[in-house]
Symmetry: C2
Subunit: 321 residues, 2 copies
């Protein structure tokens, strides 16, 4: 390791690691990929699900497709110009089809499943698939071990995709567990990516079910707490609501303030800077009282160029651009 990894030299491209879930994390990762040469994205896999015997990694695929430039711009997930003929055939064959699997997407799942069944780790398979799609950033699952988010609701215990997709995250969330997390080991490269980075970015992903599982992998939270990197987060809550998905409902259901301040409290000790939206400017002072610097800007990414704009502002706030 050279000195440049201990202290970033202004002007050189910094080494950046992002912790990410799905769509929001993918967009910010794409913005960062346009700004820096050495980018690692550590992705939540606790949403992973097996359907029809296929190993499906929704967050990994969302990040991969986005970085490859083939994500569906309308949804943020799935593949652009996707078709659903296989899913229609599944339905005619009497199978449940609540999980939207596109035909192009299906190729990814079939290949991933085959390679995992050959005994290869998810991290190696992910690297191959991403490379085949021309992704230059390093894409790492948080772990090669199986972890599954279990959602406790008044309606009972649900698997994550059942809660999120099949029931459209309309159940109140009263508890979350990550099945398998205690035995999970960080995937090869994850801890080094945190230790060696100039900047670690916590993407505007759900703190509970996207960033939460990544931090819960044994060793990750300590690595983030102890890294010499500048740690910059982006609040997924703007003006009291989530940019996307059930983050606001989860904050509320689990007894937290539904605001960027609530997010800041969740990440206390793990962040040097939190980026909040201009609409939440009045939260800057109480967040700074937690010992977290605040970057007030337009935190909502509007389009592809805007991802790069936000990424660059984060790097500047981290002293790395």
């Amino acid at each position: 390791m050279t000195g440049s990894q201990d202290q970033h030299v202004p002007g050189a491209s910094p080494t950046v690691t992002v912790l990410a879930g799905g769509v929001g994390g993918a967009k910010l990762a794409q913005g960062l990929a346009r700004c820096v040469e050495d980018l690692t994205v550590v992705v939540n896999t606790a949403d992973d699900v097996e359907l029809y015997g296929l190993a499906i990694s929704p967050d990994l695929d969302t990040v991969m497709y986005t970085l490859a430039g083939v994500a569906n711009p309308a949804t943020g997930w799935g593949v652009i110009d996707e078709t659903y003929e296989a899913l229609g055939a599944m339905q005619r064959l009497g199978e449940p089809t609540w999980f939207t699997l596109g035909d192009r997407d299906l190729a990814t799942h079939v290949l991933r499943t085959d390679r995992l069944r050959q005994g290869r780790p998810l991290s190696a398979v992910t690297a191959e698939l991403a490379a085949a799609l021309g992704v230059r950033a390093r894409l790492l699952p948080m772990t090669d071990d199986r972890v599954a988010t279990i959602v406790e609701t008044p309606a009972g215990t649900l698997g994550f995709q059942e809660y999120f997709v099949a029931r459209r995250h309309q159940d109140e969330v009263v508890g979350l567990t990550f099945d398998g997390i205690d035995a999970a080991r960080p995937a090869p490269g994850v801890l080094a990516a945190l230790a060696d980075a100039d900047v670690v970015v916590l993407a505007p992903s759900n703190p509970f079910v996207s960033i939460g599982p990544v931090l819960a992998v044994p060793g990750v939270r300590a690595a983030l707490a102890g890294t010499r990197a500048r740690r910059v987060g982006v609040s997924p809550i703007v003006a009291g609501d989530a940019l996307k998905g059930p983050a606001a409902d989860m904050l509320r259901g689990l007894g937290h303030e539904v605001s960027a301040l609530g997010v800041a409290r969740l990440y206390q000790g793990l962040l040097d800077v939190l980026c909040i939206d201009e609409q939440d400017r009045e939260l800057a002072a109480p967040i700074e009282d937690l010992g977290i610097e605040v970057l007030v800007t337009q935190a909502v990414m509007q389009g592809p160029e805007d991802r790069e704009r936000l990424a660059r502002e984060l790097l500047v706030a981290a002293g790395a651009a």
Copy 2:
């Protein structure tokens, strides 16, 4: 078992069992399905191949799709109005794509693979898939065990699909082996379907690589030789050439006469009646000299209605209609 299964009562719908490969067998099976109520199709599985970890049974699927009325009429195999988006994605992911997998077809392979991996036998999985598609005939793989046709050519030893699809069956065939055949057991129902039938039909499929493996499953040849059913075959060779595929080349390469007479010799002792085309009328006498009755008719099925016409003529020749 009632007496009606020992001797067919004219006027009642006969119990019919077909031994079949892919397209030709599927067409005739469809014709028979329109004529009789109790139809069993025993299908070659020695062509089965695993690609991308998917269990693919080309002949079973061709028969299933044809009987379900969803086969591609242009090719005889695959699904009508098929798309190939997943295959295109496979190619972009760096995978070989010489085997044409349609998106709708892919659903069949994914479900079959999943159910086989759960430890279920191919015969049970096939029955479920066929029932889901509305197939009323009983569709049986020749065996639940793995058998693989190996093709010896001057260019070396090839797997069947490699020979047939990837290399477009252009290599001379100098030998054939069915790997796993000695340990293979007939699938549940196969031997009973031969013993209990009023009529057994050998479809106009390739005698070597379609009907051959079925007959080579231990017990099947003896069951066919010993059945009280009338056994009626249709020559896949018309006017010295194959209706489809490499049957003519294989007869030649393996030292047989390339004619309906050559076919008759292969099936001697297993057939009561051989249906040959009007163009081959002069072969009727030498075939009868082998102890096989001859039905001379238009043996080539021209369209969907023509399949029923040929099926009905076969049943009449068998004394079952």
